[in-house]
């Protein structure tokens, strides 16, 4: 089969995406497919038209590739693609939208307040901060609404640190959220075709738990898969993850990041197209479930093809 592997692009996660894409291409070739690697740029449509792929494997992360933009284009071109559909991508990339959906569906997620930059610049939203801080408590977490990585995510230990954290978060998006900090174990559940893979726990090797580099560096964070969880804990985590996956309309595959607190799991975010690099969590979880990387890629292709054939 002729598969276009879409990677790179202009997002801040370009580097990770290039590594994901290279690894996928390799697996596809081993599976006997013909691959056309495309670094998504201004000539994307032209190159897709020239290549005439039967399917596109989207190995892009962050804005442009993981937010529904590329997926929309592929729909227009009539090319089936891997991973979640347009709407799910759009919901996952926007943490504020995603949290509204999660809460609406009864999936636990930490309390939050969201702000547009305009609210601060033009509507005096700064005056509302104090009350919100009281309701969320300190420390609180400040995040850009859109963006797949930990870039721009800051802790504010007290009130004086909030404005600076907001300025940082607004560097990445015009909408940010202030979120209640939930203490607990950091776990991730990869979902493949609606089924949860074994839970991965990330145990930071010290320092800042939201260290962007640590997510992609071997040896900076210890990953335990399957995570050592009690039966009840595992069921609660998996249940919350599947609930989130469904609430956001994901299909194919995605990864749900959660905090397992004393009183149960809380969903932080859903990554529509999680990393597929050597150190990424989805491949690790698949391996723990007995799948090789080739089998994982093969299954992702199958899911995309059957979804495409189901569409009238």
């Amino acid at each position: 089969m002729k598969v276009a592997v879409l990677k790179g692009g202009r997002s801040l996660e370009r580097g990770v995406s290039l590594r994901s894409g290279a690894r996928v291409e390799d697996a596809l070739e081993r599976l006997g497919h013909e691959t056309v690697a495309i670094d998504a740029g201004g000539d994307l449509v032209r190159r897709l038209a020239a290549a005439q792929p039967e399917i596109a494997f989207v190995a892009m992360h962050g804005l442009g590739g993981e937010d529904g933009t590329v997926q929309e284009l592929l729909e227009i071109l009539g090319i089936p693609f891997t991973g979640p559909p347009v709407a799910a991508c759009a919901r996952c990339i926007d943490k504020v939208l995603a949290k509204h959906e999660l809460r609406g569906a009864g999936v636990p997620t930490p309390d939050w307040f969201a702000f547009n930059e305009t609210a601060f610049r033009e509507l005096g939203a700064g005056d509302a901060l104090g009350g919100l801080e009281q309701r969320l408590g300190f420390p609180l977490v400040v995040k850009p609404s859109r963006g797949g990585s930990a870039l721009g995510v800051k802790f504010a230990a007290d009130r004086s640190e909030v404005p600076e954290a907001l300025v940082s978060a607004f560097s990445y998006d015009s909408r940010v959220l202030l979120e209640r900090f939930v203490e607990g174990r950091e776990v991730a559940v990869s979902v493949l075709g609606g089924e949860a893979l074994p839970v991965v726990e990330a145990i930071p090797g010290g320092g800042d738990r939201y260290d962007f580099e640590a997510r992609y560096e071997i040896g900076r964070t210890d990953f335990v898969c399957p995570a050592e969880l009690g039966e009840g804990e595992a069921a609660a985590v998996t249940g919350a993850a599947l609930g989130a996956y469904e609430a956001l309309g994901c299909a194919g595959f995605s990864r749900v990041d959660l905090i397992l607190a004393d009183d149960g799991p809380q969903v932080l975010e859903v990554n529509a197209i999680p990393g597929l690099t050597d150190t990424s969590l989805l491949p690790q979880a698949a391996e723990a479930a007995g799948m090789t990387f080739e089998q994982l890629v093969d299954r992702i292709l199958d899911l995309a093809l059957s979804a495409a054939s189901a569409v009238p």
């Binding site: 801040l12 996660e13 901060l129 009281q134 607004f170």
Partner: protein
């Protein structure tokens, strides 16, 4: 490129990762990936105006000269240019080095010189020769971002001494040395880029140079002088290198052809006292046997034309103009709260913003405007420092791009300044849980970025 048939290695499974992780040397645990690697990956996009690089201008190097010299080497020195060479480098290359150092008033013994693969290898070999895990290395704050990973990979405990407009603050250095004395420790060396420092652009004053050399002699302390930019002076009076002041007893000198000729030829050098050099040579043998003989031939040919100083004079003219352009653009486009150095040579300006601006985050915003710089944290071992500073390069891009690049950075800074003010000036009603404590008007500057806020102390 993608269409080329190739064979990739078998993919790595997580069990393999665990196996490799068990094999890694302890030093890899403290090796830093280059700062903000993923952000920097985006800076390579062709549409990005990059003020992030440290690139000298190579566009004005005469193509005909380059072609003629390479042809002559190919025709007349085929066998030798393709062969291994001595670990110390060719004597002819060393002659060129002596000539370059002579232009700054230094007279090294040719036997004290080793030709290295760029100045970077010289730094690496010096560390390899002198540093055991846990040893103390002292350098400037901010320091050359490329030196930080070297110190880290040899597991040095790196102590940074703040700079001001006259370079490393020698009083602070003395205080650190005294503290270390109290702990029964001493640094293996003090690393300094005294002239047109990377990244700060500042130059160590003559008085401080004398004090540093005197202090080194008194304490029998080694100083590593890294001097890539000394000949690229476009304002003020030349100052003697530390090596000249010291005579080479306690100063190990690092030089390079990168900024006066070409970084692509990867030719640098180190000058060290004989006992140190003996070990450096052994280290170099283990690392790569010898420096490229092909490019050493090129340097020999190039210097034989006797026009290398003219070329530097041309570069100085270009860089002076670009610095002026950048300084003018900074005045026009950066906010009143920002400060920056105005170097008399070299390639870099160091700008410092109000402390509430994190330049790593600012870079993400700037990249959306297709412009890049180096966030200041790259110049610190402690990554929590330098957060509100940035390094701007003016040598690698033309005047128009400098103006446009600075204009775009200025715009994203202005947006952040406005936003911060909107966040902090807001006043809630009396008694409401309301306002964050700090007023935008009295925002303190980042204490980590002494440059250029603290004025020089009266003692120099």
């Amino acid at each position: 490129m993608e269409e080329t048939p190739h064979r990739r290695r078998a993919h790595t499974r997580s069990s393999d990762l665990a196996r490799y992780a068990g094999l890694f040397a302890a030093r890899t645990g403290v090796m830093r990936s280059s700062a903000m690697r993923d952000l920097m990956a985006v800076t390579a996009r062709p549409e990005v105006i990059s003020l992030a690089g440290g690139l000298p201008d190579t566009s004005t190097f005469p193509a005909a000269t380059f072609a003629a010299q390479m042809t002559r080497i190919a025709q007349e020195s085929t066998a030798e240019a393709l062969q291994y060479g001595p670990t110390e480098g060719f004597a002819e290359t060393v002659d060129c080095i002596i000539e370059v150092m002579g232009a700054e008033g230094m007279l090294p013994d040719p036997d004290d010189v080793i030709v290295t693969t760029g100045g970077q290898q010289a730094i690496d070999l010096i560390c390899k020769t002198l540093v055991d895990p846990g040893d103390v290395v002292v350098c400037e704050a901010p320091t050359y971002p490329g030196a930080v990973p070297v110190f880290c990979s040899y597991q040095a405990e790196t102590i940074q001494i703040d700079c001001d407009e006259d370079g490393m603050r020698i009083e602070d250095l003395e205080a650190v040395l005294a503290r270390l004395d109290g702990e029964g420790r001493r640094p293996k060396f003090v690393y300094s880029v005294p002239s047109f420092q990377n990244p700060a652009g500042v130059t160590m004053s003559l008085e401080r140079r004398r004090r540093l050399v005197e202090l080194a002699r008194r304490r029998e302390l080694l100083v590593v002088e890294d001097n890539p930019y000394g000949l690229l002076r476009f304002g003020g009076e030349p100052l003697p290198p530390l090596y000249q002041l010291d005579g080479g007893d306690f100063v190990i000198y690092v030089g390079t052809f990168s900024k006066i000729l070409s970084p692509g030829i990867r030719l640098g050098w180190a000058v060290a006292p004989p006992p140190v050099m003996e070990k450096i040579v052994l280290g170099k043998q283990a690392s790569d046997l010898c420096t490229s003989t092909l490019t050493q031939h090129f340097v020999r040919e190039y210097f034989s034309e006797r026009r290398w100083q003219e070329y530097i004079a041309d570069l100085i003219g270009i860089y002076r103009g670009r610095r002026d352009t950048m300084v003018a653009a900074l005045r026009e486009h950066f906010p009143a709260e920002a400060t920056w150095t105005e170097p008399e040579g070299g390639l870099f300006i160091w700008a410092t913003l109000p402390e509430y601006i994190d330049t790593s985050d600012l870079l993400a915003k700037a990249l959306r405007e297709d412009v890049a710089f180096v966030p200041g944290q790259a110049a610190y071992v402690d990554e929590s420092r330098g957060r509100s500073s940035m390094r701007l390069n003016f040598s690698g891009v033309g005047d128009e791009e400098i103006r446009e690049g600075v204009r775009r950075i200025g715009r994203v800074i202005a947006e952040q300044v406005d936003l911060y003010k909107a966040l902090t000036v807001a006043k809630g009603p009396e008694g409401s849980p309301g306002t964050p404590g700090r007023e935008a008007e009295d925002v303190p500057v980042d204490e980590g970025a002494v440059l250029p806020f603290r004025k020089k102390e009266s003692t120099g």
